[in-house]
Amino acid sequence: MKHKHYQQIEENIYAETLSNGLRVFILPKQEMAKTFAIFTTNYGSIDQSFVPLNEQNLQTVPDGIAHFLEHKLFEKEDRDVFQDFSKLGASANAFTSFTKTAYLFSATSKVRESLQTLVDFVQDPYFSEQSVEKEKGIIAQEIRMYDDQPDWRAFFGTIKSLYHHHPVQIDIAGTVESIHNITKDDLYTCYHTFYHPNNMVLCIAGNVDPEETMAFIKDNQAKKDFEAPQPITRKFPDEPKEVAKKELTITMPVSVPKALVGIKENVIPEDPKQFMEKEWLMDIVLDHLFSKSGVAYERLYEEGLIDQSFSSESHLERNFGFSIIGGNTKDPEKLAQRIKQELLNLQSTSMDHQSFERIKRKKIGQLLRAMNSLEFIANQYTHYQLLGIDFFDSIDWLEKLTHADMLDFTRDWIKEEQLSTCFVKADE
C-alpha cells in the first residue's frame, strides 16, 4: 500500500492496485463522523458500442442501458439492497453519467459492514425478465420527470445541437421507447464487460483506519474469482469538427425563455498534465467572462439580458468536451448573439495579468472549500483517477499556470464553427 501526504492541504491518500486490477484509494479523516465510499465503473451512457467480454464482434446496445443497469443492480433475487444498507443505518445511492456509473453510501456506524455490502452487491448481479419489465415503469416516470424540467431539456438540447453522432447526445436515461427494448441478456452483457474490477475504482473517505480498511478489501476480493483482466474495445463514431446544428429550439411551457450557447471541444490532450491544464484554463477563461465577477456578466447584466439563473459550465472527457453558457432571458436571440460575440472576441479583449492571478486565487480557495465535503473529495479523486490524473497533484499544476499559458490557450480556443445555440421557448 502506498501512502502519499499532501503537505499544503494536509491530506493523506493510501492507494493500492489489487491483483484483479481493482484500484483502491483511502483518504482518512478522523475528525469527521461520517465515512463516504464510492465504487465506480468506467462505464457510462456513451459506451453504446463495444466488443463484449470474450467475444469478437462489435455490439450496439439500446440507449439508456447503463442507467437501467444501475437501477437493476440494487435488486437481488430475494431482496432490495437499499434495505441492506437501511438495516445498517447507512444511506446508499447511485448515479450514471456520460462516462461513469457509481454506487455509494455514507454511514456513521458499522462502516465495515456497509463497505462489504457495497462491494458485494455491485459484484453479484441478479437480473430476471420479470424485474427488468417492472423497472421500465419506474424509469419511464423518471424520464417524464426530466421531460418537465426546462433546465435539463435545455442542457441536453445544447449537447444535441453540438454533436452529429457522438453518443454524449443521448439522454443518460434513454427514452421511454429505447428502454422498452432492454432485455435481461443485454444487462448481463454490459455487466460482464464493464464491471470487471480492472475497470473499476473504489474510493473511501472519512472516519476509517487505512491499514485495516485496505486489508479488509483485499481479503474480500481474494475470495472472489474474476477472469484475467483484459482491455475493453469501445467504438465511437467519427465526429465532425463543426457543430451539428447552429440553432435548435425546444418548445415547452416556460414562463421565461432560455438561451444557451454551447462550445464544442475538438482538441483534447492525451497527456494528463496538459489535459488538466486545458480544463483549468477553460474554467478560468469562462470565469473571467461569465461568473458573477466576470466582465461579460457585468455587461450582459447591465444590458438587462440575464438574471441570477445565468451560469456557465464545462465538461472535458477523454473523447469529448463542451462548455455551456446561458440562462433565462427576456430576449433569447439577443442574449445568444451577445454570448457568441463575447466568446469570439476573446483574443482581442483578453484578460490582464492581475485578473488572471485573482481568478487563480479564487480557484484555489474554491478547491479548499470544496474539500470540506467527503463526497466532493472522493468523487473528484475517482473522476480524475479514471482519466489517469492525481487530483491533489493537479492543484499544484493550477498554482503554476501562468498568464502566458492563458494567452496561448485563448489564441485558438474558439472558432465560429464550434458554437451552437439552444433556445427554450413557450408555444406562441
Binding site: K34, N207, G365
Partner: protein, 427 residues
C-alpha cells in the same frame, strides 16, 4: 470523532455562537436576523438580499464587490431569506478559506470581517436611500425569480398546497414575496425597512471552524453595531377537523400528488424525537413505507417521500405519478398512514430507522452549514437541547411512542397538480 461543542455568549444586542471544530478548511460567519412572517414585509425581505449584493460604499458596483471576494481567495458571500415556522430569517453569511492551508495568504479573517461589516453597514446609498437604479433593476431580478419558481413543479405544488392549507396562518406566505408588491416598494422605504431589521430583529451570530486562538470573540465585537436584542415569537398551532381535496391543472406530463398533515409537534415537544422516527418509517428514507409501496411494489412513482416541518408542526408527503394513477396512488399512500397508526412495522424496522435517523443527523454535523442550521433550530424553539442530546433521545424512542405520534397526526389537505390532457381524456 469528538463531539463539537457550541459556546453561546449572550451579548448586548445579540447572541454569539462559537463552534470550534477541525472538520473544515474554512471559517464560517453567519448573521441571522429573524422576525415574524408578515404579508406587509415579506416582499421587502425577499428583495433585500439582491440589493445588498449589488454594491457598497467602497465597492460601488457588483463586479467590484465580487472581485474583492475573489481576491480573498474566492470567499463566498451569501445573503438570503428563508422561513422556519412563522419566522422569517434574513441571513448574511461569509465563508472564507482558513489561511493556514494557503501559502502566502495573510490576515484573511480580518479582511473578511471588515468586508462583511461593509456589506451590512455601508451599502451603496444615494441621498440616504438605496440606489434607486439598483432597486429598480433588482425588482426585475426578483420578478423573474418569482416567475421561474413555477417551473419547479414539485416545489410549486407544495407552495400551492400550503397556501390553501394554511389560508388563515402566516405560514402560507411565499418566502420569495409577491409580484404585485414590487411596484410600490421605493428605494427610501426599502432602506428604512432595512434599518429596522438591523435594529429591531432578533439577531444570532455564528462563527464555525478551526477558530480557537483566532480571537473571534473580540473580532465580532467590532463587527456588530450597537442594537437591542428582541425576543422571538413562536408559530401558532392550529387544529382543524375537516379535510379538503384540491385538484389543479398545469401544462405538465407528470402529476404531483401532495399531502399536508398537521403533526402539531414542534422542536421543543416531548414527542419530537419520536416524530423524527415516525417520519423515517413512513417516508423519510428509501426503506420507508412510501418508497417501498408507492414506488417499488406498485411502480407508480419515481419518488414518494415525506418531510416534517419542525417549528410549525406540519408534515408533507410528495409524489410524482402518472396522472391516471391518482386514485390508486392516493389509496396506497393513505393506507401506509393507517398502517403506521396501527403499529404495522417491525422492531427491526424501528431500530434500523432510529440508526438511520441518528446517522443523518450526525452527517449534518459534518457540514458547516448543516451545523449552523441544526444549532439554529434550538434558537428558534427557545430550547437548550444540543444536537447530541437530540440524538440520544432518538435512540431511546419506543414503538408505543411512534404509534402515539402517528395517531396525533391529522390529514389536512390532499393536493393534486395534474396535466390538462389527463382531465380531457377522462372526460
Amino acid at each position: 470523532m469528538t463531539e463539537t461543542l457550541e459556546r453561546v455568549i449572550p451579548r448586548e444586542g445579540y447572541d454569539l455562537h462559537l463552534i470550534h471544530t477541525k472538520k473544515f478548511k474554512t471559517i464560517h460567519l453567519s448573521l441571522k436576523f429573524t422576525s415574524n412572517l408578515t404579508r406587509d414585509n415579506i416582499t421587502k425581505r425577499a428583495l433585500l438580499p439582491y440589493i445588498l449584493q449589488q454594491g457598497t460604499e467602497n465597492y460601488p458596483t457588483a463586479i467590484q464587490l465580487r472581485q474583492q471576494l475573489d481576491e480573498l481567495y474566492g470567499t463566498i458571500l451569501a445573503v438570503d431569506s428563508s422561513k422556519k415556522g412563522e419566522n422569517h430569517i434574513f441571513t448574511i453569511r461569509l465563508e472564507l478559506p482558513n489561511e493556514q492551508y494557503i501559502a502566502g495568504s495573510q490576515d484573511l479573517l480580518d479582511k473578511g470581517i471588515a468586508f462583511l461589516r461593509e456589506i451590512i453597514y455601508q451599502p451603496k446609498l444615494v441621498n440616504q436611500a438605496f440606489d434607486p437604479k439598483i432597486v429598480a433593476r433588482e425588482k426585475e431580478t426578483l420578478r423573474s425569480k418569482i416567475e421561474s419558481l413555477k417551473e419547479d413543479k414539485m416545489s410549486f405544488a407544495n407552495t400551492r398546497m400550503i397556501e390553501e392549507m394554511c389560508k388563515e396562518e402566516a405560514y402560507r406566505l411565499r418566502v420569495h414575496g409577491y409580484e404585485e408588491d414590487l411596484d410600490e416598494i421605493t428605494a427610501e422605504d426599502l432602506y428604512s425597512y432595512y434599518q429596522q431589521i438591523l435594529s429591531d430583529d432578533h439577531l444570532d451570530v455564528f462563527a464555525v471552524g478551526d477558530i480557537d486562538g483566532l480571537d473571534v470573540e473580540e473580532k465580532i465585537t467590532a463587527l456588530v453595531e450597537e442594537r437591542q436584542q428582541q425576543p422571538i415569537e413562536k408559530a401558532m398551532k392550529v387544529t382543524k377537523d375537516n379535510e379538503q381535496t384540491l385538484i389543479e391543472e398545469d401544462d405538465i406530463k407528470q402529476a404531483k400528488l401532495h399531502f399536508g398533515y398537521r403533526t402539531n409537534i414542534t422542536f421543543n415537544d416531548e414527542d419530537y424525537p419520536a416524530l423524527h422516527v415516525f417520519n423515517g418509517l413512513f417516508g423519510g428514507f428509501p426503506s420507508s413505507k412510501l418508497f417501498m409501496n408507492v414506488r417499488e411494489k406498485h411502480s407508480l412513482a419515481y419518488y414518494a417521500a415525506s418531510r416534517i416541518e419542525s417549528h410549525k408542526g406540519l408534515m408533507f408527503v410528495f409524489s410524482g405519478i402518472a396522472p391516471e394513477q391518482y386514485e390508486k396512488a392516493k389509496t396506497i399512500i393513505l393506507e401506509q398512514m393507517e398502517q403506521m397508526r396501527n403499529g404495522e412495522f417491525s422492531d427491526d424496522q424501528l431500530s434500523e430507522t432510529k440508526e438511520m435517523t441518528v446517522n443523518q443527523l450526525r452527517e449534518t454535523l459534518d457540514n458547516p452549514q448543516g451545523m449552523i442550521e441544526l444549532h439554529y433550530q434550538s434558537v428558534l424553539a427557545k430550547s437548550t437541547i444540543t444536537p447530541e442530546q437530540l440524538l440520544q433521545k432518538v435512540n431511546t424512542v419506543t414503538k408505543e411512542q411512534v404509534i402515539h405520534v402517528a395517531n396525533k397526526i391529522k390529514l389536512d389537505t390532499i393536493y393534486l397538480l395534474t396535466s390538462k390532457e389527463a382531465e380531457q381524456s377522462e372526460a
